[in-house]
Symmetry: D2
Subunit: 357 residues, 4 copies
Amino acid sequence: MKTLMKGNEAIGEAAILAGCRYFFGYPITPQTELPEYLARRLPEVNGVFLQAESEVAAINMVYGAAGAGARVMTSSSGPGISLKQEGISYIAAAELPCVIVDIMRGGPGLGGIQPSQSDYFQATRGGGHGDYRLIVLAPASVQEMADLTGLAFELADRYRNPVLLLGDGVLGQMMEPVSFNPLPAGETVKPWATTGCRGRERNVVNTLYLNPEELEAVNHRLQEKYRLIEARECRAETYCTQDAEIVVVAFGIAARIAKAAVDGARAEGVRAGLVRPVTLWPFPYRMLAGVLKRAKAALVVEMNAGQMLEDVRLAAEGCVPVSFYGRTGGMLPGSRAVLEQIRLLGGKKYGHYVRPA
Amino acid sequence: MKTLMKGNEAIGEAAILAGCRYFFGYPITPQTELPEYLARRLPEVNGVFLQAESEVAAINMVYGAAGAGARVMTSSSGPGISLKQEGISYIAAAELPCVIVDIMRGGPGLGGIQPSQSDYFQATRGGGHGDYRLIVLAPASVQEMADLTGLAFELADRYRNPVLLLGDGVLGQMMEPVSFNPLPAGETVKPWATTGCRGRERNVVNTLYLNPEELEAVNHRLQEKYRLIEARECRAETYCTQDAEIVVVAFGIAARIAKAAVDGARAEGVRAGLVRPVTLWPFPYRMLAGVLKRAKAALVVEMNAGQMLEDVRLAAEGCVPVSFYGRTGGMLPGSRAVLEQIRLLGGKKYGHYVRPA
Amino acid sequence: MKTLMKGNEAIGEAAILAGCRYFFGYPITPQTELPEYLARRLPEVNGVFLQAESEVAAINMVYGAAGAGARVMTSSSGPGISLKQEGISYIAAAELPCVIVDIMRGGPGLGGIQPSQSDYFQATRGGGHGDYRLIVLAPASVQEMADLTGLAFELADRYRNPVLLLGDGVLGQMMEPVSFNPLPAGETVKPWATTGCRGRERNVVNTLYLNPEELEAVNHRLQEKYRLIEARECRAETYCTQDAEIVVVAFGIAARIAKAAVDGARAEGVRAGLVRPVTLWPFPYRMLAGVLKRAKAALVVEMNAGQMLEDVRLAAEGCVPVSFYGRTGGMLPGSRAVLEQIRLLGGKKYGHYVRPA
Amino acid sequence: MKTLMKGNEAIGEAAILAGCRYFFGYPITPQTELPEYLARRLPEVNGVFLQAESEVAAINMVYGAAGAGARVMTSSSGPGISLKQEGISYIAAAELPCVIVDIMRGGPGLGGIQPSQSDYFQATRGGGHGDYRLIVLAPASVQEMADLTGLAFELADRYRNPVLLLGDGVLGQMMEPVSFNPLPAGETVKPWATTGCRGRERNVVNTLYLNPEELEAVNHRLQEKYRLIEARECRAETYCTQDAEIVVVAFGIAARIAKAAVDGARAEGVRAGLVRPVTLWPFPYRMLAGVLKRAKAALVVEMNAGQMLEDVRLAAEGCVPVSFYGRTGGMLPGSRAVLEQIRLLGGKKYGHYVRPA
């Protein structure tokens, strides 16, 4: 059975179905429907909803609840996610599972409240300090807002790592029919959690290692885990890539727009295709490289000034020219404009490939 | 005349010579000598030193003072810089000049207090939200701590952009002779500053643009400025690169270690060379690409798990294999270990190039 | 059945039996056993324990939970209670019920961690701004810690007013047998609470009244309530006051010490008696005045520099000389020293009454 | 020469003339003209004006600057002063001089922005924890706003004690001609200040004494100082008290209104007089008691629900009936209404004294 819901609300319901019982956050447009939804729903399932004093307070409460073994979530938009960076680095260093939602709006600074994808670098390169990685999931529909939320909690627990769900204001606020298919719950055993140590050894959550050998060992363990995640958890959707000469690469809502442009190009006889990374970290370099090797050009479409572009160029390693089309500040790329870019690259009209400066 | 000083202190003195009269910060090892120095020196030149309530408070005071046209500085290490990310995005969005110092320590989380280079991603990809860039300068000696501080204030004012001075715990605390060669001062005119509007139009510092067309226009202006900086301000040191087959790429203190390894390799007949980016953003892609095209292999040496590595790979675009040697957690790479890596790549011993996984 | 418990723990258990399900606080000696107890016990009854980012955060969470109709508690010692003053004034102005525990330590400033009674003025005169009153209950045994906690929640709900339980480090940390006699629970109906307004008019919690007539009307309503509480809720213990010539007035742990001194005086033939106010606000002026009118001298004993002394003088209105004996900084008055003071005032030895300067 | 100025501005100018060079605060009506004035003026005299992150931050900056020997000021209205209570207790405990301005508005809670006197208890009984006292000065004109500001800095330094200037919204915002008569400056020597210890013993600012004997000794020293201040620094204005049968007691702006009522009563043949305490602590008990002993009734007039009333009753000790007339919430008592109260007490009409309940 499907329910018509906003994307932000779908995240909320999916989180509850995934066993999330704690939410700590602070309001900011365009994600406010999510805390609003949980403020109402969490008490109904004996959960705790708390609007914190600040974003800094919220992420540290997440740190505490995660350390105690709870399934816990926070959400914000760009400015709030920036304030959380210290806490995120701590949680990643302490190897604690939690889910962080960023419903992106136009930046930088206060920016605006219209949708954007301009926190890609922050999400995938670590806005915080030190060598750590977040698993970053990028939904492209309300249904995926729900599905990837469930997956986020699973991956967080499996790898003891924070997972970032990276949406945008369109996805957060649009309504689509959604069905909830929660994973079989299964009490996760967390022997490392600080649940009160009566009858066992004391568990300690700590990120301070004054001895550099010890800290290097921690980093080695982290890096090994990241290699494992890179090997196992890359996810991407491909569309018409089998014979694609022009490969569009886009994520999230931009990928839906790009898909329409690919259809348009195909209708005109241009062999276009689409790769949509679903995991932004780990980024599906290998898979994308395979597609690009058979192609003549790549076009990256983002709602920012060119951030995933770097990952596509790292995948391409110079094997095809990579061009970029982006809009910023809350403006959406139109599928017509994307089609125009495809035509420029692949088109009958020009008969050659143009590499933008 | 040269004075024997710690790197942190050299930054402090150079800042004062550059006309910096405001410092807002919060103590954290290994940068504390810098605020200590300025706590003593700033009052002597009628300046203001203020230890803020928090890192968040400090960066917002920097925001305020920069908006009022002052030359202003803050400093911290990783955890503190993470807390400042919201403020940094605001200052970049408001196009205000200021200098931020990050004396890196081992991370993530609290990590340790030994030196590191693991905030490279945060520095160059923007730890904050939205499409913005910091100019990032990476000194490799106490003398450069001083020289690049002066340059930082110049570039900040010239481009109305925050400049990040990215050092590490070795550079901050080692003592070397330093001479101060301040740029000719020259009162910088800042007609945009909020200095009190009697007799002129009111100046407004703002980063909120609810109209997305307006916000996109702001982003266009920012991106144009960033293109200009990329064109004009790339800086790098090269060493023995003319005929280099093995090109080591390293920055900061790691580059000094690498240089000794290059010397060692040359002594063994291996044609090694070094490229040391001084500006990490804008990264000297073009120059490095030129060097790499003539080479057989690249070796990136960092005190992290491989961050600048991505920029080197973006420069190489697959033209040479790029391998990596790094230490983390406060451990220093030894020049002997680097030399061993060079041997592996270029060496007499193996006669072939190994590309690490 | 009696259990041997610390006073701080007895408060915790009594709060749970009174239906308290929310605790927000921050650790400080000598009250830390209370949050520790609740951190363990509240989850067992589906309650919420949260260690807040700061005392300011904690009291504002209390404000929120109280507004939503929950039975909620916070606790601290002097420095923390001072930080809560803004919040307390808001809660009193909004006429919301909650229980605040102050386990006093020596002050002012950081002071020490030994017991004290030096927050009497703050408790009874309002440390916050504006004309408001807290109901202040002063237990003198572990049993009363429990009993008065139950009463505190009852009075808070009955009068929609914050109630302060004013203990000290001795009471908090001493162990005594205690039995729990919870009042019959009975779901309190709170039609004013912000519980979600579906199906009824929206409830608003507010303390801002820009129209001074409106704000004066609010103050009239508050003052009428305070007159009602003064008329109904004064509580005090009297001991040997029927024929007392020397009346000792003391509260809390100091009253237990004073009682031993009264016994000692009686054994020597001095007609001493004790009045122990249990409600510090409303202060039992009338009852005390009645006792003093029959007496020849009053002696106030406090663990501070003379605060309740003012209330005793307001009750006496010059009808008997009022002298004072106090210790500060965590020092306890000995019953021998108090007896010596009684002798000075009433004694065979001197045959006259001395009024100290 | 007189200048027409607002009371808030007069405080600002007088502070600068008194050598105040540091102001840390946070905006709140009705005192905002004071920080605004100093934001403009302090830079002109090489001073520092800083709008802090919060009231808590501001008072701790005052603590720091005072410890370093600077003449420093902060200001706020009720809610902000409540937030400062912890800091105030620390500064009093550390025996540091500073000036705190409270321009009172209607409370409790957010209350309103109209004038009030409802922070009297907080000011005189210590809103913070522990046994400490602030010197509290209550101006009644713009000229006194200036004069008492100068005196405040003098007393603060002389007694190493925080001084509170307690005004209200009328005094803060009304304009009157004012002349500035700064006290002869004279560099105050502060050998205890933490100015950098080269060449002398290290100075320590501390309020923590874990040993209760030590903390009691600190309290003894404080109480001795307070006795000295009580003996030396009581200030009050008397008006027509020589033969007064009805003594009105009022402070601040309420005293100006009461004075007009006294004139009105005299015109009708009623022997009324006025006592206006200028120091609210130390309160002029002895002087007031002398006046009351010759009188038949006292009338306390306040813009609150009856706070100084307690001090007047402590002075009267039952020798005359003490009645009260007050307005709250920002409402001003009219001189006509006060006159009516005088008539009720002293009047030809009734021929007897009525003591209100």
